[in-house]
Symmetry: none
Subunit: 207 residues, 4 copies
């Protein structure tokens, strides 16, 4: 299951005109959906939600337009699925850190978080394009943010068992703010230096 919205089945009667993403039932379909989401992610990040055509998405995914519509009857549904996938990927990445021995101490955690954020940077750019830029309280944004705060707080607690929950939570907020700066690191020579600064700030925030 790659999406909770899609896991609700087709057979369900629903007010006509409220289309729904169809969940693939075969391995082939599951792979196709992934490919489509990947293509959409790149294009949405490049041209925005409205600036991306369904045709372009299908083409980039190497699928026929019909195949695209088979799984995503509207662009919005595709956007929703993409957001959910991003949410899930972030959650999974944080879960992986939680299981990682190397993250049981502040320095390791700081490094792990940074690496994770860099890996998710492209996907985040896509997700950001699907959100109302002018409304910082977009429910989707809040949802992801809260999920991240909670899990990062847990990670900090794990790395410093002496800390009480409230303090960990407070530090998680700060850490998350710092982590966002990853997405603004330039691609240039001094990126490494800046990243090092960031890593140390993060470590300071966690400890």
């Amino acid at each position: 299951m790659y999406s909770s919205a899609m896991s609700k089945q087709n057979q369900v009667r629903r007010p006509a005109g409220v289309p729904m993403a169809r969940a693939p039932k075969r391995e082939r379909g599951r792979q196709r959906v992934e490919t489509l989401l990947d293509a959409a992610a790149v294009l949405f990040a490049e041209n925005g939600l409205e600036g991306t055509t369904m045709t372009a998405i299908a083409q980039r995914a190497g699928a026929s337009i019909g195949s695209l519509y088979q799984f995503f009857p509207t662009r919005q549904l595709l956007a929703d699925a993409l957001r959910e996938r991003f949410h899930r990927h972030v959650a999974e990445a944080l879960d992986r850190l939680a299981r990682d021995e190397a993250c049981r101490n502040p320095a390791g955690l700081a490094a792990g978080l940074l690496t994770m954020m860099k890996a998710l940077s492209a996907e985040r750019a896509a997700a950001l394009a699907l959100v109302d830029q002018n409304d910082p309280r977009d429910p989707h944004r809040l949802q992801v943010r809260n999920m991240m705060r909670t899990r990062i707080a847990a990670l900090i607690g794990q790395a410093q068992p002496a800390l009480d929950a409230a303090t960990a939570a407070r530090r998680a907020v700060l850490a998350l703010h710092l982590l966002k700066l990853v997405h603004q690191l330039p691609d240039e020579d001094d990126a490494a230096a800046l990243e090092e600064v960031l890593r140390q700030s993060l470590l300071a925030a966690i400890e």
Copy 2:
């Protein structure tokens, strides 16, 4: 999305023969242009550049589609005009602060800047929609940013004549960053408190 004509000249510097926004000759025309720009600003902020149709703009402005094209022969020209107006409004607002006795001291300046930014918030949202979100070095963004930095530096210099230019410039950068936070203030009860915090941070940055 549907613009065949535009795809030929996107982002390109106007070659000779490419239409320019026509300047209105009379007061009546100036009024209409303002109305059109206002309508466009709202819609761009709401639905983005690609998500806004020329028809919708004309309709919201209470003008005919022909009238809209009278002044803005191209959607891009409309976007340009909007950006320019925003740039001009910001410059004018900062000029007004420069002339304002109350801004001759740090506290007054901090308050004045905050008020100004709040007043321009809606217009800024529209201008932001016209810019490549993924490219922090979009020339238009840089242009506005530099203009603001320069003028804010001058304002800080004015408020603290003892400061040397380089220091004022450095503080202007910081002040500008803080001022951007205005756009993220929630509309809720605690907005006033947050704004107070912001004002004090700003004051600290200026002094």
Copy 3:
């Protein structure tokens, strides 16, 4: 005004997604709408509502597809306008009979009604294609039927002033049934003879 549905203006806010036929505001537009309706009538009668493509309608009317959509954003709206036009044409034709001296006696009225029905035969075929064939109580059918009954009763009353209203009404029902048979007259040699029979039956029903 060629359509009551269309006379309700555009400026009215309505739930997005409930499109409306746009009323033409210029002579040219009015003519175009008529041409479009004519083309649609022929094609609907030939291939039914679902069997007729918008492209075919525009093509037959010698208009661009965009022109068609300018006035009729959906096929259903076109169908509605067509039905209304048919209703109006029938009403007008009956009004004309009411003003016609020759219809002040039963024989003249019978002849007049027959001629009228033959003239409207093609348009009726189109209107019939737009109606739920399986539901004899389709509101649109009832509406036209009642309008016709009422006016034919009035015509019968006019032709035979001695008749009381109730009797005239009863005879109108019968006359209408007979008139419907016009649409089933074959195009062949014996059509004239059959029509004569029909005319006499009609006369008998009226008197």
Copy 4:
């Protein structure tokens, strides 16, 4: 409307090599075919031939689209099968009347015919949707009509052995016309009364 493949072979008599509806081999298959035909009948009656999609039929029948095409490789074939089934059902129903003791007299026959027609009403609505509404001489319509006329004449002859064949045939024509009125009986309170009137007219026609 979207059928490129079908436009090449519409209404054409099947040349060799054109697929036919595949006959099911087992009981299970026969059941499924019936279910599919039932679903198609309902949808055709509701939305017409062109308004009904193969997907919708399969879905309503609880079958996969592949399964539908297993038995009906073409929409036209499905329509044909539906018409044939209707024809067969009518014939079987009339045969049953012929074997029914109660129909050996005029009154019993009239009642039996009425009941039969009411039972077939829904199926007839579907069959009607598959036929060119504007062409009263559609071969399929004629075929069913002639079959009915012949068998009803036989039934009348059976109920009144004294009648000569020509007279029975003439009365059968009239009876059939009257029977068609069944499909226009309203569903309301006075339906029973109207049906009684119809039954008596029918009886009069038969005798």
